[in-house]
Symmetry: C2
Subunit: 514 residues, 2 copies
């Protein structure tokens, strides 16, 4: 199979159905196929050869969707850039991938001088915004209008489809090489569960489309031949409006976004009854938030997805029927396409209930890291992707992610997984959000430290938090210090960026573990 | 992925769930995994090497299911033999595949002397029946009891998984080589439609398990980790009892079987409300039968599946919502994993509405025919499987199969597709079943001839049939002669065997076309 296959199938079955909606623009499957064939022709005319990397940097757009189809159509390689990065990081990923063509929108066009200065290899920039075409760029609209359509290369299977730079919370970005088969097998495995879109679904792209979480939904919808409604970026009111106006059935969010939706004062003014599936990732959802969200979206089932870019991305899913108090902190069960095991430091599988590293094997495991054979060899051993996440499986195959292996806190000689402490803290009624990290301590080596956002009007003391936490987990895991804040640093994927928190405490230490 | 992967996943998630039920026997996923590991060990002890073919000949059984898992577990190749064949044909397929080991049950053990005489290469026979172990065979139960478990070979992807001899209605049997990826991609493509089993499904194996139609259901259920209830062969009462007793959710049948179920006098005595999906193949269902069947199985959706062994096997599906009068003669729409086109004799794609040969491409297309490079090259051209079926796609991508290309009747210089005539005849209220073929004719070259089974108590004349047919299709397509019979020859897959009908009329002709 190949990434554009679903588009051909949809043209065969419902050419005049609406495929892409963005603001006032909408286009049918037949129109998209024509535009994509022309854009692919334009890319080839601009000198793009088989396997060349074509990058994109911008907000969500129907044109972002066309890019996702035209690049494989032209037998080139996708490179969707993380929009949360600095110019230096973006230039790094363009240079590392040797992308010669970049698509950019109005929002990111101002970065062009800096990008060009930092990476002179950028041969062509295509401007896909609605504003005036910046100097030295090619107009997206004119390119499509002026280019003759080319036939779809129809190349897929194990061929490289894209480079997806990990916007991880630690380390230097790495280009994850995913094949067509990687992405498609993940989509089919997830679809087989019945937790994701069905025929006739309308998916709202509210999370950033560069990220493989929302891209996974894109791929599933393209396979099914469904409709995509696209808003430039997450905005609670825009999401509520879009659900109502377009009878949205499926959306991917992170729990922080769900919270903003249910907290929005205009929430009750919109008809949200079309929603069937709310897929969320990045972190579990709290019981309190889930209860409120189920009232706001009574027709929707909630599914948590755990995975990573290197798994294209799905590994486990917590389906709607598993959203019980006992399982809410679980990442769910292994999806049908993939195998997940927990292994010790020697790579031996451990018994259920025992914490170890989460490893995964299957047709969705990446080809490797671009130009990084050593990193690839370290991550892929005997066909198993070593996720770097710590966790355990219970007797029923539910996965509980306890922490990044490397984020483990060693306090007084005991291993403490910060996610476990966070889960305990999150159950306190005053807590809206929290992060736990190890900070340097004279007595303990590392001390368990909590950073908390309180619920509106609520207060919290370290004594009260310790007492509460100790009712749930061992005393040595309970936080010994607390900072109440109004904001936590969040990554493009909606994850709390602990690295930034750590820098505050560890800034003058050479290593961030003691 | 690999064929046994779902078994491991199920053991991880619900080891004590019931996987196989057959008569009084039932076994859990953990028990099946243990037995399969021992059977695989036993096969290796018997000298089975990587890639060796291991055949099975027998009725449906839980042990048939264990065979389907143990052979790939042992890194050998499946060869499920068509139980409708003569001893000579069976020996042919064993010899052609060079199968060295054969599993056989009580029903087929009597064929052993003839098989051994015709194919001396048969080194080992394993008897999996409940009766006494025949001379010179190994007891299945003793083999499992005596053998140490071996680890799963975990080999899959493009590796050969099995030889599936086409029990086609024409020509010499050919061994279709299917890989793990072929079978799994077909299953995932079908599962993505939502027309097939879901988590928690209980599949009734009533159609013969050697045939890829029911085997496709087996594969889908193994992937999902569902339960299999198995009866030795189709029997209307046994099916009704099993649905009631085991709360069956999914079953694959052919329309003739559906008819026998709804006609059965005890039908109303059983609780059939658990049924969710009735998947049928081999031929479309008549409107009259569908109406009756929907009353008998009010909770079930009907899905027609069109495919072939060479496509592992799914190509198109007609889902429950498409069971309308207009679409009932259609084979449905192309499934998400595969591409289907209609091409002319030069291989060029034709416009919607135009009849041509149905061709398919995708990850489900067979590796080729075993030891038949010429046949493989004729069938697989540029990656497209040439099905030999004639048909057209309408403007909405619905496939209508009009006939085997080679079954086309040329009458008075006009091409007549017999299926189109059969569809017209089937709408006559007196007709229970029919077949149309070309027979030699002085005037017309070939004459359109109808063979009909009448409804109980009904009569039919050629004049009345002609008049009726001409209200639906062109006059030259209407039958010019009629034979009313009480029985039609039916293949193991439930298809009418036209070859046998033709022999009656063409017996003294060198070719069966004029």
């Amino acid at each position: 199979m190949y990434l554009t296959q679903g588009l051909h199938r949809a043209v065969q079955q419902h050419p005049d159905g609406v495929m892409l909606v963005h603001g006032e623009r909408s286009s049918t499957f037949a129109q998209v196929a024509d535009r994509v064939a022309r854009l692919a022709g334009g890319l080839r005319d601009l000198g793009v050869q088989d396997g060349d990397r074509v990058a994109i940097l911008g907000l969500n757009s129907d044109r972002y969707g066309e890019y996702l189809l035209a690049v494989p159509w032209a037998n080139a390689v996708l490179n969707p850039v993380n929009i949360r990065w600095s110019a230096a990081e973006i230039a790094y990923s363009l240079r590392d991938s040797q992308s010669t063509v970049l698509l950019v929108d109005d929002a990111f066009a101002p970065l062009l001088p800096a990008l060009r200065a930092a990476y002179p290899g950028l041969r062509t920039v295509i401007h896909y915004g609605d504003g005036p075409t910046p100097a030295s760029t090619v107009s997206y609209a004119e390119l499509i209008a002026a280019s003759a359509p080319v036939p779809d290369a129809r190349r897929g299977g194990d061929q490289l489809a894209g480079l997806y730079y990990t916007g991880g919370t630690t380390g230097f970005p790495k280009g994850v090489m995913l094949s067509h088969a990687n992405l498609i097998s993940s989509a089919f495995g997830a679809l087989a569960t019945g937790y994701l879109p069905e025929f006739g679904a309308r998916w709202l792209h509210a999370a950033p489309m560069f990220h493989l979480a929302d891209l996974a939904g894109w791929n599933a919808q393209v396979i099914l031949g469904g409709a995509h409604v696209i808003i430039p970026m997450f905005d609670p009111l825009a999401v509520l409006r879009a659900i109502d106006a377009h009878r949205i059935t499926d959306v991917l969010l992170v729990p922080l976004m769900v919270q903003q939706l249910v907290d929005h004062p205009a929430c009750a003014d919109y008809d949200l009854s079309s929603l069937r599936h709310i897929i969320y990732g990045a972190s579990p959802i709290s019981e309190a938030l889930l209860e409120r969200a189920m009232k706001v979206f009574p027709s929707a089932g909630f599914t948590q997805c755990y995975g990573m870019t290197e798994l294209a991305p799905v590994a486990t899913l917590l389906g709607p029927q598993d959203h019980t108090a006992r399982l809410l902190r679980s990442a769910g069960r292994v999806a049908p396409h993939v195998e997940v095991r927990i292994v010790d430091e020697q790579g031996a599988e451990v018994a259920p209930g025992t914490v170890g590293e989460i490893v995964a094997s299957g047709p969705n495991v990446m080809l490797g890291y671009w130009n990084r054979p050593d990193d690839t060899a370290a991550a892929l051993r005997d066909g198993w992707m070593h996720t770097g996440d710590g966790g355990y499986l219970d007797d029923d195959g539910y996965l509980f992610v306890v922490d990044r292996i490397k984020d483990m806190i060693v306090s007084g000689g005991e291993n403490v997984y910060s996610a476990e402490v966070e889960n305990a803290i999150a159950t306190h009624p005053s807590v809206a959000a929290c992060a736990v990290l190890g900070v340097p301590d004279q007595d303990w080596g590392e001390r368990v430290h909590a950073v908390v956002i309180c619920q509106p009007g609520a207060e919290l003391s370290i004594e009260e938090l310790r007492e509460h936490t100790k009712t749930l987990i061992a005393g040595y895991k309970a936080p010994r210090s607390l900072e109440v804040v109004t904001e936590l640093p969040v990554s493009g994927a909606g994850k709390i960026v602990k690295r930034e928190l750590r820098e505050k405490y560890w800034g003058d230490h050479a290593r961030q573990v003691n």
